[in-house]
């Protein structure tokens, strides 16, 4: 018998006249895993903020544990057992695991003094309850992402959460870590704790959800048992259009021309050995494999960040030495990093400045002073070409949504006119609609003759963009596939075959 823990009824919320939520009603039952999906701006995060008491709704009603609220404060929400796990996990990097786990509880108790023994005791109990063992005296900042997430979840359970809301929880996790996260969510379910799982990754949604709720433009457009939903239907409801996947037109790669990039016996001690492959102009080559397979390290070596120990790299037939990022840039190699926030963008700088940062020394006048006109000219060109959605190039980069930030990183590299572009997980944290258009963009670039390397473990993504695929394992290339001869299922199988050989 299920009982309703949380109900929202006819909730609406507008910002400056724009309806972010329109008459939303939703019910969460005890121990239920509900996936909330929708593109950026569809209203799902607004709803999360209303449930957690950050925003108050314009009208409607929230009922938690049979208590009805016109609006909630964060304190009300927490007291009723709603816990949100944000993407930053809301941890203090400089405090111990134990303190992070217990501090909220301690604060709400209103106690003026701290009893460390009690802290350790409560924390140990909390971790034991979800079968996790992390040293209590470690600083949270020294933990891996997955461990920090576990701490955040434990923190929620310690706060007697009845509903845990997870915002994009799998973004920074490896396949294995996602698996253990799902196990924990299932454990929580057994304890009667409900989970609202906000995600872009539809394959994960199908794996974990009991029920799927889809938002589009502030409206709930779908709310049904997850078992009866397939990815294609979900995409249709999210975007309002059918994403064309089958009819991808791959450009004809001219095999006769000289390869753009040839890599021979490239080795970086402890990371990858004897990697040999080539890439033609106009070709998109996917490099895949599990985390630790050496794929990212290979990309970084090609970009000069961690130069290889031995082997040869040839660009258009000429042997080049890539010992630094500067070398790579001089050879017109571009690299779009995985974590655009950390590595790719100056978030507080303007969008325009971000676009031109790689080419700034070319945009000077005869006095060697920077010419603001050329800057806006170049940046506007790329903002238009890559459809970066912004009212004004002078706004800071952090004002953009995830997908648009990723476009901006691309724009930054394209402005420097690379011949070879290396993309590391180009659509992590990007919603479905944006994802499709970034894929389209990648193919267009290839069609114009650029050589593109994509490092990714997102199988559908690889299938949609790559002409050829290389599978890496333990630092070696184990397999190579042509796009025409492989299907999504087969590739998935290959990767699973890899995984099943793993010693746990």
């Amino acid at each position: 018998m299920t009982s309703k823990i949380l109900q929202v009824k006819n909730i609406s919320k507008s910002f400056a006249g724009v309806k972010a939520l329109d008459q939303i009603s939703l019910t969460i039952n005890e121990g239920e895993i509900v996936c909330l999906v929708g593109e950026n701006g569809s209203g799902k995060s607004t709803l999360v903020k209303i449930i957690s008491g950050v925003y108050s709704p314009d009208n409607g009603e929230i009922i938690i544990n049979d208590h009805s609220y016109k609006k909630l404060t964060p304190i009300d929400s927490m007291r009723e057992g709603v816990q949100v796990i944000y993407q930053d996990f809301s941890l203090f990097p400089n405090l111990s695991v134990a303190e992070n786990l217990v501090i909220n509880e301690h604060l709400s108790s209103g106690k003026k003094f701290v009893n460390w023994k009690e802290f350790d005791h409560i924390a140990a109990k909390g971790l034991a309850e979800i079968n996790v063992s992390i040293p209590l005296d470690m600083m949270a900042g020294d933990l891996s992402t997955a461990d920090r997430q576990l701490i955040a979840i434990t923190k929620a359970t310690l706060a007697k959460a009845r509903v845990i809301i997870m915002d994009e929880p799998t973004t920074a996790l490896t396949q294995k870590e996602i698996h253990s996260l799902f196990n924990i969510i299932m454990d929580l379910k057994k304890k009667g704790i409900s989970t609202i799982f906000v995600s872009h990754k539809l394959n994960e949604v199908t794996e974990i959800a009991d029920r799927t709720v889809i938002f589009r433009n502030g409206k709930k457009v779908m709310d049904q048992d997850a078992k009866t939903l397939d990815i294609k239907t979900m995409e249709w409801y999210m975007t309002g259009r059918e994403l064309d996947k089958s009819g991808i037109q791959f450009s004809h790669v001219n095999q006769q021309t000289e390869p753009l990039l040839e890599v021979e016996n490239l080795t970086l001690q402890g990371k990858f050995t004897n990697v040999t492959f080539s890439l033609n102009p106009g070709e998109v080559l996917g490099i895949t494999g599990l985390l630790g397979s050496g794929r990212t390290e290979l990309a970084l070596s090609l970009f000069g960040e961690t130069p290889a120990n031995s082997g040869e790299i040839r660009i258009e037939g000429k042997t080049v030495s890539i010992k630094s990022i500067q070398d790579a840039m001089n050879n017109r190699i571009g690299y779009v990093p995985e974590d655009r926030v950390i590595e790719g963008l100056f978030l507080d700088q303007s969008i325009s400045d971000n676009v031109v940062v790689r080419v700034i020394n070319k945009l000077v006048n005869h006095l060697h002073l920077i010419n603001p006109q050329s800057i806006s000219q170049v940046s506007n060109e790329w903002i238009t070409r890559l459809e970066v959605k912004t009212p004004n190039g002078n706004l800071p980069a952090k004002s953009l949504s995830g997908g648009n930030q990723q476009r901006l990183v691309l724009a930054k590299w394209l402005a420097s006119d690379p011949k070879l572009l290396i993309l590391n997980s180009p659509t992590v944290g990007v919603d479905v609609g944006s994802k499709a258009s970034i894929h389209e963009l990648i193919r267009n670039l290839a069609n114009q003759g650029m050589g593109i390397l994509i490092i990714s473990d997102d199988v559908p993504e690889l299938m949609q963009t790559c002409n050829r695929l290389i599978l890496m394992r333990r630092g070696k290339i184990t397999n190579e596939f042509k796009r025409e001869t492989i299907t999504e299922e087969l590739l998935n199988k290959e990767m699973v075959a890899n995984r099943s050989g793993m010693v746990q």
């Binding site: 003026k112 003094f113 701290v114 050989g501």
Partner: protein, 337 residues
């Protein structure tokens, strides 16, 4: 446990102190004496008291340069006021009035910081000049050597004295007790109170601290109240130790105190630091300064040598952090072994 102690910032600072003492002592054996200990402690009293206040600001992720002005305002202001009324009593009233003045000045800074959301450093830039200007314009600009009768001889109130073969008589000044008491109080505040943990939390991640329910504004206001009181307290102590009151007290010493807090292992980015470390940092700073005369390095080289030594010592905790981070960072498990 032992390993943890060895890796701690306090231990590193302590080791440097021991090392430096050995070097100085080998060059000048007269350094190894109880008199030296008393001297270094006496010179550390006042900077320690200020450093304890500043420590709270730095843990909370701020930096302040105006605390020296709180000290000057508290000490000089109190003195000129009491002088005006012909006060001839003891030191206690000085402490009470000065601490009240420090509390007000600190609260004003705290208010501006929290009310208008201005970074602590920015506010301190302004109040530093404001208070020294205020003293000169409204209180006075001359040094004053008139010590009230009840407090004459305070500078020589020793807990115990030793007859040193070299130095003559050396005493352990009673104000060392202040350092001990204030140090213990601040330590308890930081380690065992919710308020103290809030200070660390703010330094670790201010947004999360707000989200977790810490009253960040109130905490910062309290930090500044404490800073104001401790600075003024230090100002009065210094003035009685040096037997005169000056309007520009400590004006050029704020950076030394900041350096001492950092030497003691506090992170300038906030979130980390301890009372013991800070005290050791102050002692180390004193040692570095004094090593010059004791080792006979000529005056022309002094600043360069101090600068070099500081640069090395300041980088040590940071280097330790990098090494620790590398070794402690969880290793990604490869997909096959």
């Amino acid at each position: 446990m032992l390993k943890k102690t060895i890796k701690s910032n306090e231990f590193i600072t302590f080791s440097i102190i021991v090392l430096l003492s050995l070097i100085i002592g080998i060059i000048n054996p007269a350094f190894f004496s109880l008199a030296t200990v008393f001297d270094v402690l006496r010179a550390s009293i006042v900077p320690s008291i200020m450093a304890f206040g500043l420590l709270l600001v730095i843990i909370a992720g701020g930096v302040d340069i105006s605390f020296v002005a709180f000290a000057a305002l508290g000490a000089y202001g109190t003195h000129m006021l009491l002088l005006h009324y012909g006060y001839q009593g003891g030191i206690l009233l000085y402490y009470i009035i000065a601490c009240a003045i420090g509390l007000l000045a600190g609260s004003l800074s705290g208010f501006i910081i929290t009310r208008f959301d201005v970074p602590m450093f920015d506010v301190s830039l302004a109040t530093f000049t404001l208070w020294y200007g205020f003293i000169r314009f409204f209180i006075g600009s001359a040094k004053n050597f008139q010590i009230p009768e009840g407090a004459v001889g305070y500078y020589a109130k020793f807990i115990t004295t030793v007859k040193d073969p070299f130095v003559g008589e050396a005493g352990l000044h009673i104000s060392v007790i202040y350092v001990l008491v204030i140090g213990v109080l601040i330590h308890i505040l930081l380690k065992y109170t919710t308020l103290g943990r809030g200070i660390y939390a703010i330094g670790g991640n201010k947004d999360v601290a707000i989200r977790s329910g810490f009253n960040v504004r109130r905490i910062i206001l309290i930090i500044y109240m404490i800073l104001g009181v401790l600075s003024a307290f230090a100002g009065v102590t210094q003035s009685f130790l040096s037997r005169h009151f000056e309007p520009t007290l400590f004006m050029t010493q704020n950076l030394d105190v900041i350096a001492a807090v950092i030497l003691g292992g506090a992170s300038i980015n906030g979130g980390r630091g301890s009372v013991l470390g800070t005290f050791l940092g102050v002692v180390l700073m004193q040692l570095i300064n004094r090593a010059m005369v004791l080792t006979g390095i000529t005056v022309e080289w002094q600043e360069l040598v101090i600068g070099l030594v500081l640069t090395i010592f300041i980088s040590l905790p940071a280097m330790r952090d990098r090494i620790n981070k590398k070794t402690r960072h969880p290793v990604e498990i490869p997909d096959e072994i």
